[in-house]
Amino acid sequence: MIHVNTNYCKGCLLCVEYCPKKVYVKSEKLSKKGVFPPEVKFPENCIKCHLCELMCPDFAIIVEDKDDK
């Protein structure tokens, strides 16, 4: 599961740009913060590389991973 915290997200779209599997697209709906957050469009393509979480400056993405300690 991929969670985008729209309370933290500021809509910079680094996640959309840097996901190697193009899991995200820019949402067409404004969040309550007034930005266009990413939409998790193709979650089945996710390889759990966590790059989106690293690139997000706002701790807004959590990619659930059962391997985490």
């Binding site: 680094l14 930005v35 979480e53 400056p57 706002d58 701790f59 659930e64 985490d68």
Partner: protein, 275 residues
């Protein structure tokens, strides 16, 4: 080694009541904070024995978000406070977050002399080439010809290179990356934290609001791409030099990694000799 999910970082290291951060959309400071916390997590550093110190500036707000003891001190004085903390209680891990202005302008002398003394602290400098917090004034790191609110026709002052300064004064660990190099950043911060003596990690970070806007560099995506294109890895750079070529690109990578006795060790030896 694989990367963990942000929830672990948020739960264990951040003051959730302070989130979201105050930083602008696409500001690189949050990324540097994430990389540093991941390095700390990987090394299993005890947060009860760690102090985060900063001066003033957007970059200097980082310790306020971290669930640990911290000192949000005066503009330019972070390294002076950090030196005091380390000398008063050498058991503590002391980590400084400082902006390019905080570190290289008003705090320049503290920076030089803490390196000279080889105080055992880790300094993470977030270089956005400008005074972000106060509205985009010229910094000593601002590149030639760049526009800032105080150089509206372009900067005519030669910039200083923080990492090269750290290197020539003798810091035992120096690395420079950009926010577009998360993996390398984390690995260098880990090495810096493990180094005894003054360790310095400079991270080039986008400030889309001031530097980006004034220089028509676009949003953080464009700026991040620009960082990748305008930097060159030290290994490649050295190869170029050997081939008699040169480049204007900023050199990134691990610039120094040596062993050198730190101030506390020297001091303890000295006290022992006096007895």
């Amino acid at each position: 080694m694989g990367f963990i999910s942000n929830d672990i970082i948020i739960e264990k290291y951040l003051r959730k009541d302070m989130l979201p951060t105050i930083f602008c959309t696409g500001c690189g400071i949050g990324s540097v904070m994430n990389y540093a916390l991941r390095a700390i997590h990987d090394l299993n550093i005890d947060m009860n024995e760690t102090v985060f110190v900063s001066g003033i500036g957007c970059s200097s707000r980082v310790p306020g978000y971290i669930y640990s003891d911290g000192l949000h001190s005066l503009h330019g004085r972070a390294i002076a406070y950090a030196t005091g903390v380390k000398l008063a209680n050498p058991k503590l891990k002391v980590i400084v977050f400082t902006g390019d202005g905080d570190c290289g302008a008003i705090g320049g002398n503290h920076f030089l002399h803490a390196i000279r003394r080889n105080v055992d602290i880790t300094v993470i400098s977030i270089n956005n080439f400008i005074y972000g917090m106060t509205g985009g004034q010229v910094a000593p790191t601002t590149p030639l010809n760049s526009k800032t609110t105080t150089t509206p026709y372009g900067n005519i002052e030669y910039p200083i290179d923080l990492s090269m300064m750290a290197k020539v004064i003798g810091a035992p660990y120096v690395a420079r990356w950009t926010t577009a190099h998360p993996v390398q950043c984390i690995s260098s911060i880990k090495k810096a934290l493990q180094k005894t003596g003054f360790s310095f990690v400079e991270v080039l970070a986008p400030c889309p609001t001031s530097y980006g806007r004034l220089n028509k560099m676009g949003n953080t995506l464009d700026m991040t791409k620009h960082f990748k294109e305008s930097t060159i890895n030290i290994k490649l750079y050295e190869k170029m030099l050997a081939d008699g070529k040169t480049t204007d690109k900023m050199v990134i990578g691990e610039l120094v990694d040596i062993e050198k006795e730190d101030f506390n060790t020297k001091y303890n030896k000295f006290c022992g000799e006096l007895k």
